[in-house]
C-alpha cells in the first residue's frame, strides 16, 4: 500500500474505533472500571486520559514486539505473556517518570495507573490489532481511536450518573444494575453511527 491509502485506512480505523466499533460499547472491554469508577466526572476524566495515553503507546510497543520478535520466530502463542509484560512494564515506567517530573500530574493520574494494567481494554486493543492484521499507521489510529472511544463512553456515563445521584432507583437496580441499563442505551445510541462510515 502507498502512503496515501495507508493514511486513509488509518483514518477510517480511527473513526470507527471511536464511534461504530467502540471498544466498550460494542466489544464490552474495560467494563469493570467503567462500572466501578464512573461515579464522578472528575475521576472519570483522569482515568479516561490515562487510558488514551497508555492504550496508544502500548498498542505501538506491542505492534513492534509482535512484528519484529514474535512473528519471525513463530512464537504467536507467546503474545499473551509478551503483551501483558510490556503493558505492566510500561505502566510502571510511566508512573515513575510522572512521579519524578510532574508531581501534580502524578496526584491526578497516579492512582489510576496501576488500575490500568488489569484493564482488559488495553490488552484487548493489542489483541484485536494482531487479529485484524493492522499496519503500523493503522495501529496508531486504532490505539488512539479506541482510547478516545473509551474516554468518551466513561465521561458520558459519569455525567449521567451524577445526575442520577439523587433519583429514586429500585433497590436491586442501584449501582451496577442501573449502570448496565444506561450502558445499553448508550450502546443503542452508538449503533446509530453505523451508517457514518462507508465501505468499512
Amino acid at each position: 500500500m502507498n502512503i496515501t491509502s495507508q493514511m486513509s485506512h488509518a483514518l477510517v480505523v480511527f473513526v470507527s474505533a471511536i464511534f461504530t466499533q467502540n471498544i466498550l460499547l460494542s466489544y464490552f472491554l474495560g467494563l469493570c472500571p467503567f462500572i466501578g469508577v464512573s461515579r464522578e466526572v472528575k475521576t472519570s476524566f483522569g482515568l479516561g486520559l490515562a487510558v488514551i495515553f497508555v492504550m496508544t503507546s502500548t498498542c505501538l510497543l506491542n505492534w513492534v514486539a509482535y512484528q519484529v520478535v514474535l512473528e519471525p520466530l513463530g512464537l504467536h502463542f507467546f503474545r499473551f505473556i509478551m503483551f501483558i509484560i510490556i503493558i505492566a512494564a510500561f505502566v510502571q515506567f510511566v508512573e515513575m517518570v510522572i512521579e519524578r517530573y510532574s508531581p501534580s500530574l502524578y496526584q491526578r493520574l497516579g492512582v489510576f495507573l496501576p488500575l490500568i494494567t488489569v484493564n482488559c481494554a488495553i490488552l484487548g486493543a493489542s489483541l484485536f490489532m494482531v487479529i485484524r492484521d493492522y499496519s503500523f499507521v493503522a495501529t496508531v489510529g486504532y490505539g488512539l481511536g479506541s482510547g478516545i472511544g473509551w474516554f468518551l463512553a466513561i465521561m458520558a456515563m459519569a455525567g449521567i450518573r451524577q445526575r442520577l445521584a439523587n433519583e429514586r432507583i429500585p433497590r436491586g437496580l442501584q449501582g451496577p444494575g442501573i449502570t448496565l441499563i444506561i450502558a445499553g442505551l448508550m450502546a443503542l445510541a452508538f449503533i446509530g453511527f453505523t451508517g457514518v462510515l462507508q465501505g468499512n
Binding site: 460499547l25 460494542s26 466489544y27 464490552f28 472491554l29 474495560g30 467494563l31 469493570c32 462500572i35 466501578g36 502463542f77 507467546f78 503474545r79 499473551f80 505473556i81 501483558i84 505492566a88 494494567t117 488489569v118 484493564n119 482488559c120 481494554a121 488495553i122 490488552l123 484487548g124 489483541l127 484485536f128 487479529i131 429500585p170 433497590r171 436491586g172 437496580l173 449501582g175 451496577p176 444494575g177 442501573i178 448496565l180 441499563i181 450502558a183 445499553g184 442505551l185 450502546a187 443503542l188 449503533i191
Partner: protein, 209 residues
C-alpha cells in the same frame, strides 16, 4: 470420602450465591459478556474460565510462600497467562472454528478481574485445597449467571437454543428481537438478571432478620 466441612460449605455458598462474582461483585464480566450471543460460545468460554480460574488459584496458593510480596501481582498474572495459553493452544488445535469465533476473548481471560481479584483475596492467604475450591465455585457461580444471560439472548434474538430450534420461538409467531443478539441486548439482559437476583437476595436477607 470425607463429608464437606461447614467451612467449605460456606465457601461454596459464597461463591455460588452470597458473594456471586457477577451480580454481587460485578467483576470480570468483560471477557465473557461479549460472547453471550450464542449459548455454545458461552459454554466453551465458561469451561475455559473454570479451568483457568481454579487451577491458577491452586497454583498461586501452592507458590504463596515462595513468592516475594512486591512482585506477586506479576507472578499471578504470569500463572494465569500460562493456563490461558494452554486453553488457547488446545482450542486452536482441536476446534479452530470455535477459536476464531471467540477471537481475542480467550486471551482476555488473563485480565479478567475476577481471577486476579480472587487470587488476591483468597488464594494468597489460604492453603491450596481451599483456594482450589474457592476458585472452582466462584467460576461456577459466574458461569451459571452468564449462561442464563446467553440462553435468554439466543432464545429471544434468534429463537434457538444451542443452535437447535425451540417450539414457538422458532416458529412464525415469534418476531425475533434482533436487538438481543446485538451489543445493547447484552447490557439489558445482564442488567435485568442482576436486578432479579439482587432483589431475591435482599428479600431473603430481610426475611432472615
Amino acid at each position: 470420602m470425607r463429608p464437606i466441612g461447614a467451612e467449605n460449605r460456606k465457601l461454596i455458598a459464597e461463591g455460588l450465591w452470597q458473594n456471586n462474582p457477577v451480580f454481587k461483585q460485578v467483576l470480570g464480566i468483560c471477557s465473557t459478556l461479549a460472547v453471550t450471543n450464542l449459548v455454545l460460545n458461552t459454554v466453551v468460554m465458561c469451561v475455559a474460565l473454570i479451568f483457568t480460574r481454579s487451577l491458577s488459584a491452586f497454583t498461586v496458593a501452592v507458590l504463596r510462600t515462595l513468592t516475594p510480596r512486591n512482585i506477586r501481582m506479576m507472578v499471578e498474572t504470569l500463572i494465569i497467562a500460562f493456563y490461558v495459553i494452554i486453553v488457547d493452544i488446545l482450542l486452536k488445535a482441536y476446534w479452530p472454528e470455535m477459536s476464531s469465533s471467540l477471537g481475542p476473548y480467550v486471551g482476555l481471560i488473563i485480565t479478567n478481574c475476577i481471577i486476579m481479584g480472587r487470587c488476591e483475596a483468597c488464594a494468597n492467604a489460604n492453603p491450596s485445597g481451599r483456594a482450589l475450591l474457592d476458585g472452582l465455585f466462584n467460576a461456577l457461580g459466574y458461569s451459571f449467571v452468564l449462561l442464563i444471560v446467553a440462553g435468554l439472548r439466543e432464545l429471544f434474538g434468534m429463537g434457538t437454543f444451542l443452535g437447535l430450534t425451540v417450539p414457538y420461538f422458532s416458529g412464525p409467531y415469534w418476531d425475533k428481537w434482533i436487538i438481543m443478539v446485538m451489543p445493547p441486548g447484552a447490557f439489558f439482559v445482564l442488567a435485568i438478571v442482576v436486578w432479579v437476583f439482587r432483589s431475591i437476595q435482599t428479600a431473603k436477607e430481610n426475611k432472615a432478620k
